[in-house]
Every structure is written in structure tokens, then in C-alpha cells.
């Protein structure tokens, strides 16, 4: 870009070419699944968990754990990209498409804020979470989603950096305006497209 070369720097990570194409700029391949959470890890028993959609909607809805598991369940295999530079390929989750949930509430406006047990929030326009782009997931690799990774339930919005995929999710509010969430107020980009390297404010 600016022609700068780091004196004496030799690439040490050789990513196979077919996988390299799946790594957005500045990302590296991570075989594990690092845990990154702002604050203590919430402990939410499934019998207390629910997922709610409220705000500017035709009908407000709330699903208990059991009701949620009556909905059509999908297995989703996606690459995920964390703003802290790691990417994990072919991560397999189980959950319910947000399209299924949104169908039942009729969103009347263009923006959403997701909120979590523990107080985390993140904002997403409705168009970024509809048409097969977002899921509420409760399983990872065929097992219950581990608590440290957001269990019992988290968002999966794999086309954006992973802070947009709220852990311990408990609901979303549909709004007539965009309102920056937790990390979006604390320095991360409002949109977060890894392919455009939208990491921070101003990117």
C-alpha cells in the first residue's frame, strides 16, 4: 500500500492457498477457538433463558428454551473472523435462522440492537441479519454451546467480525434508528466487514 517493508521480516505462517483465499486481510488461521469476553462470564440456566424480539414490530414475541427448540433447527458451517486477528474456518453450529424468528414478529423498521445477559449490546441493520445471514445458535460441533463461548445461546452473524455475534443473547429490539452497541461505542467499527478490514472507528 505505502511500499513499507519490515526489515528482515520473513513470513513464518504458510497458509495453504485454498485456505488463504478464505482469510480476510490481516487475519491468520486459528485452529482453536480463543475466548474473548468483556467482563465476567454470565451463567444462564436454560430454564431461565428466553429470546425476545421487541421494539418496532408487528407482534412482540418471546421464546422459552423449549419453545425455541420447537422451531426449525439448522446445522450451519461457516468461517468466523475475530477483530483480534484470528479466523476459524468451517466452524459448525446448530441453531435457528433469524429469518424464522423475524417472520413471526414482522419488523417494521430497519435497525436492531441485540442485548445479552450480562449487559452486552451490539447493533445491526435488519438487512444484515435477514436472508440467511444470521442465526441464534445453541450448539457447537453437535454439542451444547459452551458457556465461555456464549452458551446457552449466542448470535451467529459470520459475515461480520465476531463481536457482532453477541454471546449469551437474550433478545433484540427493532428500532427506527441505528444505535451503536457496546464495542461500537468503545472504538470498534459500526459495521465490521472483515473483507474491508473495518476494525475500528474511521476504518
Amino acid at each position: 500500500m505505502n511500499g513499507f517493508v519490515s526489515r528482515g521480516f520473513k513470513r513464518r505462517r504458510q497458509t495453504p492457498e485454498e485456505l488463504a483465499d478464505r482469510l480476510p486481510p490481516g487475519q491468520y488461521l486459528e485452529p482453536g477457538w480463543p475466548v474473548l469476553t468483556a467482563g465476567p462470564t454470565p451463567d444462564v440456566p436454560t430454564d431461565e433463558w428466553s429470546f425476545r424480539i421487541d421494539g418496532m414490530v408487528g407482534v412482540t414475541k418471546e421464546w422459552s428454551w423449549d419453545e425455541f427448540h420447537q422451531l426449525p433447527f439448522e446445522t450451519i458451517t461457516k468461517d468466523i473472523h475475530c477483530v483480534t486477528k484470528w479466523s476459524k474456518l468451517d466452524a459448525t453450529f446448530g441453531g435457528v435462522s433469524l429469518d424464522v424468528l423475524l417472520d413471526q414478529v414482522e419488523p417494521l423498521d430497519a435497525y436492531a440492537t441485540f442485548y445479552s445477559y450480562g449487559g452486552y449490546t451490539t447493533n445491526l441493520p435488519i438487512e444484515e441479519i435477514s436472508d440467511g445471514k444470521a442465526w441464534v445458535v445453541t450448539e457447537y460441533d453437535g454439542e451444547a454451546l459452551p458457556r465461555e463461548h456464549g452458551g446457552p445461546a449466542r448470535m451467529l452473524v459470520p459475515h461480520l467480525y465476531f463481536w457482532k455475534s453477541a454471546k449469551w443473547v437474550r433478545g433484540m429490539t427493532v428500532m427506527d434508528h441505528d444505535e451503536p452497541g457496546f464495542w461500537e461505542m468503545n472504538g470498534y467499527n459500526n459495521h465490521g466487514d472483515p473483507w474491508k478490514e473495518e476494525r475500528y472507528w474511521g476504518d
Binding site: 519490515s6 521480516f9 462470564t41 450480562g118 470498534y188
Partner: protein, 245 residues
């Protein structure tokens, strides 16, 4: 101590940070056998908040990039540049470059300072809990307090494995409670073993703000201990190491 303590820090204007810039390494200090600190002079330096980080980008002649984030160790009163303290990870790509290749006078590409959650804005009292190189952003807070408000109640609980893992050893004073989890130095009469309830209690910080930084397991333990000690979960800020290699 009031819960809504007004910030006594001088206001820092947060301009939009983040253009890539080419800094110059002006000083390298060996902290431990696997940790070095790099002072980097910056053409577009701006004051950071204690706890913030910079991104570093290495570029090879083919244009291949490797990027990582590192916490700032220096006080924002050290104007004109930043100090990054880097733990060498054997199978890493960026940290071995800094350790084995970079010499004083070299240029490095960085951008920052970034994110404003794991930051100290002068709230008090403060309990810092660091494991291993998780002490780096906490040292920024300690140094800034020393420069601005040396009497502000701030304590550090710092857990390391071995005697030669202690980063900033000559700067740790009465405010620090050090514990060795594997092997204490000869003649050590202080704490040994993992951080626990007693060590947190001994720090004597109540109704304060907590900053916990280290590996995921360490942060999990540390934040639970703070909650057990009565810290409000909303006032426990954590930073967990992803693999920064």
C-alpha cells in the same frame, strides 16, 4: 468511597485514531528471558488512555502482512511515543520478529491507540489483577497513577510462574502483591500458588473498580474472585489473551 467517583484525570481529547504510521524503535529493554519492551517514537503520536492498545503490522517484500495487537505499557505523559512490551511466543510470527530481528533504530508500522473499554479514566479505588504478561496494560495504569496521582488507592495482584517471569521487577513497589505459582525465588517469604480469596482480600480494595488481564483461565478465576469479594460485575473489566503470536 463513592460509586460515581468523578474522574480526576485531565481530560484527554480522543481524536479519531488509527492511521497506519511508521515509528522508530528508540530503545529496547530486556525485561525477562522471553519479554522485551520496545519504545517506539511516533510521527503522529496522540495521548492514549491507560489500557489501550496499538496494532502492529509487519510486511514482507512480497507484500504479505502479519498483524497483531499489543497493549501500551507507558504512561500517556511519556509524549511522542509508546512502549510496547512483547512476550515471545515460540511458534508466533510477530513476537519472534520483534525479539530476534528488531534493533534500535529500526522502523515499524503501527496504528492506534484503540478501544476504550479496558481503560482507566481515574476512577478509584482500583484493584489490578494480572497474570503473566497480562500485567502490561496494568503497568500503564500504575505508571500513569505514579505520574499523576501517586496517592490514589491502586493495588496490583500479580501472578507469575517463576522468578525470571517477573516483568518490570524493579518498578514494583508496596502497591504490588506478587505470587509465584510454580517456583518462588530462594528465600521468598511472600505469596505462592494461584490467586485466591485471601490474596484479593489482602489487597484491601473495596467497592472499587477492577481490571483483570491474563489468559482466559486466569481472567475467569480473577473476575470470579472479585465478584465474590463484592465487586460490582459492571465494574470488573477484563482483557483475555487470544493467541497473540
Amino acid at each position: 468511597m463513592g460509586r460515581l467517583t468523578e474522574s480526576p484525570l485531565p481530560p484527554v481529547e480522543q481524536r479519531v485514531p488509527g492511521r497506519w504510521e511508521i515509528g522508530t524503535v528508540s530503545r529496547i529493554r530486556v525485561e525477562t528471558p522471553r519479554v522485551k519492551s520496545f519504545r517506539i517514537e511516533l510521527p503522529m503520536w496522540m495521548p492514549h488512555l491507560p489500557g489501550q492498545h496499538y496494532d502492529v503490522r509487519l510486511t514482507d517484500p512480497d507484500g504479505y502482512h502479519a498483524e497483531r495487537s499489543y497493549s501500551i505499557a507507558s504512561s500517556p505523559l511519556d509524549e511522542g511515543g509508546i512502549e510496547l512490551t512483547i512476550d515471545k511466543l515460540a511458534d508466533g510470527e510477530v513476537s519472534p520478529y520483534f525479539h530476534d530481528v528488531v534493533v534500535e533504530g529500526d522502523q515499524v508500522e503501527v496504528r492506534g491507540p484503540f478501544t476504550s473499554y479496558f481503560v482507566w479514566r481515574g476512577e478509584k479505588p482500583v484493584l489490578l489483577v494480572g497474570g503473566g504478561s497480562g500485567v502490561v496494560p496494568l503497568m500503564c495504569m500504575l505508571r500513569h497513577r505514579r505520574r499523576t496521582m501517586p496517592d490514589l488507592p491502586m493495588r496490583l495482584v500479580y501472578s507469575v510462574r517463576h522468578p525470571d517471569d517477573v516483568i518490570y521487577a524493579d518498578e514494583l513497589g508496596d502497591e504490588t502483591l506478587l505470587t509465584f505459582t510454580r517456583e518462588p525465588p530462594d528465600g521468598w517469604t511472600g505469596h505462592t500458588g494461584h490467586i485466591d480469596e485471601e490474596l484479593i482480600a489482602e489487597a484491601g480494595i473495596e467497592d472499587g473498580i477492577g481490571f483483570v488481564c491474563g489468559s482466559n483461565g486466569f481472567v475467569e478465576t480473577g473476575s470470579e474472585l472479585l465478584m465474590d469479594a463484592g465487586f460490582d460485575p459492571q465494574r470488573i473489566r477484563t482483557e483475555r489473551f487470544g493467541p497473540t503470536s
